[in-house]
């Protein structure tokens, strides 16, 4: 029998350690009674208790969810229509349009943030949740458009003709043929937009006004004020919620597969 090399196994463990050790430390520290991370002061839930009474954190969370919800909604709508238009019409300006959609993906976030801020200031728009939503839409649209475009690449244009041929008008065709088939792409784009929006810091930091502090900005300011244990607790909760969502999604998609097989 050929002896297997141990190197791949060791490497795998090292990589896993590198990824998950910091997260593990964070979760452990959230139960640490000591204020500083270095020494263990005994098990406690007091940081979690404090967290539930910290008004500004809850406000920031609500802001974040509001911004993410509306940014996702608007960018999914715009991104999907943009992708359909980019896919269907082959004009001379097509390449330019494509670039325009692509640009926000490659432009450094800080540039986007500064230019948005300058733009809002120039127009004398009061900074707040609406500007924050607009800012998030600008970069989320591109991600949605890319996700939907990828799905459209496999879409057989003859299906639209077949639907028209069978008497359906454009609206019926879009509703019953186009949208159902590209729906997974739209969902993927929407999820991407939501994730990007909820943890965006750089752009949000520039365009945030009084009363529109989002969770990432709140966490940043708490670090500066030195309330590390609270952040640890908050992060652990976010981590748990994320894991839960992923588990649910996997469970749903597994059920879906089973249903399709029978």
């Amino acid at each position: 029998m050929i002896k297997k090399s141990k190197i791949p196994g060791i490497l795998t463990w090292l990589v896993l350690l590198f990824f998950y050790l910091p997260i593990l430390l964070l979760v452990v520290n959230s139960f640490n009674a000591s204020r500083t991370g270095g020494n263990w002061g005994g098990f406690t839930l007091k940081w979690y208790a404090q967290l539930f009474t910290a008004r500004e954190i809850w406000n920031a969370l609500i802001n974040s969810l509001l911004v993410a919800f509306f940014a996702t909604l608007i960018s999914t709508l715009l991104g999907t229509t943009a992708a359909i238009a980019l896919h269907r019409y082959k004009g001379k300006l097509q390449n330019m349009h494509y670039c325009l959609v692509y640009v926000p993906l490659v432009v450094p976030e800080i540039l986007l943030g500064i230019s948005l801020l300058l733009f809002f200031v120039a127009l004398q728009v009061e900074l707040g949740l609406p500007t924050m939503i607009m800012a998030h839409v600008t970069f989320c649209v591109s991600y949605v458009a890319m996700a939907v475009l990828a799905r459209l690449q496999d879409f057989d244009q003859a299906l639209l003709e077949a639907s028209r041929d069978l008497g359906a008008n454009t609206w019926y065709t879009t509703r019953k043929v186009l949208l159902p088939i590209i729906f997974p792409g739209i969902v993927a784009g929407g999820l991407l937009a939501f994730t990007l929006s909820i943890d965006d810091f750089v752009i949000s930091f520039f365009v945030a006004g009084p009363g529109s502090t989002t969770l990432p900005i709140q966490i940043y300011s708490m670090i500066r004020r030195g309330s590390m244990p609270l952040i640890n607790a908050l992060s652990s909760i976010l981590l748990a919620v994320t894991f839960l969502i992923i588990l649910v999604i996997q469970w749903i998609s597994k059920n879906q597969e089973k249903k399709e097989k029978t």
Partner: protein
């Protein structure tokens, strides 16, 4: 009888390419009409114009007395079977077939009954709840036909419907298509590049090339009496001789002197050509007789001496390539009789006599250069053996037409 479907002076261009060039023709009620031609000849464009996916630059399309040129596809009483079926992947077979009736908002019970009727017509009752990804190519094909037929179209358009199937399935579906046609009695317009399919299915065929119709006729008319050298070469195989008329014998026959060949060939002069006219003489491989001894033939036969170059035994017939001098190769076929094994066999390099009746030759006008290119690689019919011959045939038609 009034024409059921009429194309009047249809022209369609894409940029600087003329896809269809001032084409006019009619289709009768209930017939299977095929548009046959190589890719890029304009046949699919004509189908798309009739379906309404494209608008003509000029000309009208009249269906059952009604001008439908400006109607959008969803208002035309024609339905299409697409080349790759275009079944809706997110719907079951039943939902696919019901789609058109759902769009038309027919009562639920009626839709159900109609779909059941279609499912039994295409014998797919047991697959009604499957998605298109779970059924075979032939089943997809039948579903696509049912989805179009349920609309009771005036004309059913079929765009290369068998191209995506393998050989055996293609032959079976071709038979099923004609059975379905007999059952529903709807007019079929069938687009294909496969002459075998067109021949076996059609009541009439329009052979297209370079955006125009070269000839319209029954399969037999097109095979036996091609009007142009393109049709002669595209449908089946043929041998071409370049030459000119050297002598007009009487009102029916003339002699042709062929370039680089000493013999003067007797030929039926149905086009009433005159001495000195340039012609192509086309003779199909099965019109020749081949023998080791000088044949006992009448005065209306041409006889040439030749050397056997190649022999391909194909069961029901044998194909010979013979050299009639100056490296001029002719392809001919000979049907077998039950006495074949008793006869002295014809072998490679044998001196043989080939003969044919003067009436079996066809005089056609000379090629354009574009035709020559197409004929270098003629598309072939459904037969397995014929497909294998492809390269040799094109090599031979090159040899036969060079002067």
């Amino acid at each position: 009888m009034e024409d059921f479907l009429r194309f009047e002076g249809i022209t369609k261009t894409y940029g600087s390419t003329v896809a269809v060039d001032n084409v006019s023709f009619s289709i009768q009620r209930g017939e299977i009409f095929s548009l046959l031609g190589p890719s890029g000849c304009g046949k699919t464009t004509l189908l798309r114009l009739l379906a309404g996916f494209e608008a003509p630059d000029s000309g009208r399309i009249i269906l059952d007395g009604e001008d439908i040129t400006d109607l959008s596809p969803n208002h035309r009483k024609v339905n299409t079977v697409f080349q790759n079926y275009a079944l809706f992947p997110h719907m079951t077979v039943r939902e696919n077939i019901a789609y058109g009736l759902r769009v038309a908002k027919r009562p639920r019970a009626e839709i159900h009954a109609e779909v059941d009727r279609m499912l039994s017509l295409i014998q797919m009752e047991s697959h009604a709840q499957k998605k298109p990804s779970q059924i075979s190519g032939g089943q997809k094909q039948r579903t696509a036909i049912a989805r179009a037929l349920i609309m009771r179209p005036r004309v059913l358009l079929l765009d290369e419907p068998l191209a995506a199937l393998d050989l055996k399935l293609r032959q079976r579906m071709s038979l099923e298509l004609s059975l379905i046609h007999d059952e529903v009695g709807i007019t079929f317009m069938y687009v294909t590049h496969d002459q075998g399919e067109a021949m076996s299915l059609s009541d009439r065929i329009a052979v297209m090339n370079n955006g125009i119709i070269e000839q319209i006729g029954t399969p037999a008319e097109i095979y036996e009496a091609p009007k142009s050298s393109f049709v002669a070469a595209f449908i089946g195989d043929t041998n071409f001789f370049d030459g000119s008329i050297s002598e007009v014998i009487d009102s029916e026959y003339c002699r042709i002197s062929v370039t680089d060949l000493p013999a003067r060939l007797l030929c039926f002069n149905d086009k009433k050509l005159n001495r000195g006219d340039l012609v192509h003489l086309s003779i199909r491989p099965e019109k020749f007789q081949i023998s080791l001894d000088p044949p006992q033939v009448g005065p209306k036969h041409n006889v040439l001496e030749a050397t056997v170059e190649d022999i391909i035994y194909q069961g029901d017939h044998t194909r010979y390539w013979v050299d009639i001098g100056n490296d001029w190769r002719i392809s001919l076929t000979r049907q077998h009789t039950r006495f074949m094994l008793d006869e002295r066999p014809i072998k490679w390099k044998d001196r043989v006599y080939i003969s044919w009746l003067a009436d079996d030759g066809f005089m056609l006008e000379r090629y354009s250069e574009a035709d020559e290119e197409l004929l270098q690689a003629p598309p072939q019919s459904v037969g397995e053996t014929e497909v294998e011959e492809d390269s040799e045939l094109s090599a031979a038609s090159e040899g036969g037409t060079q002067s």
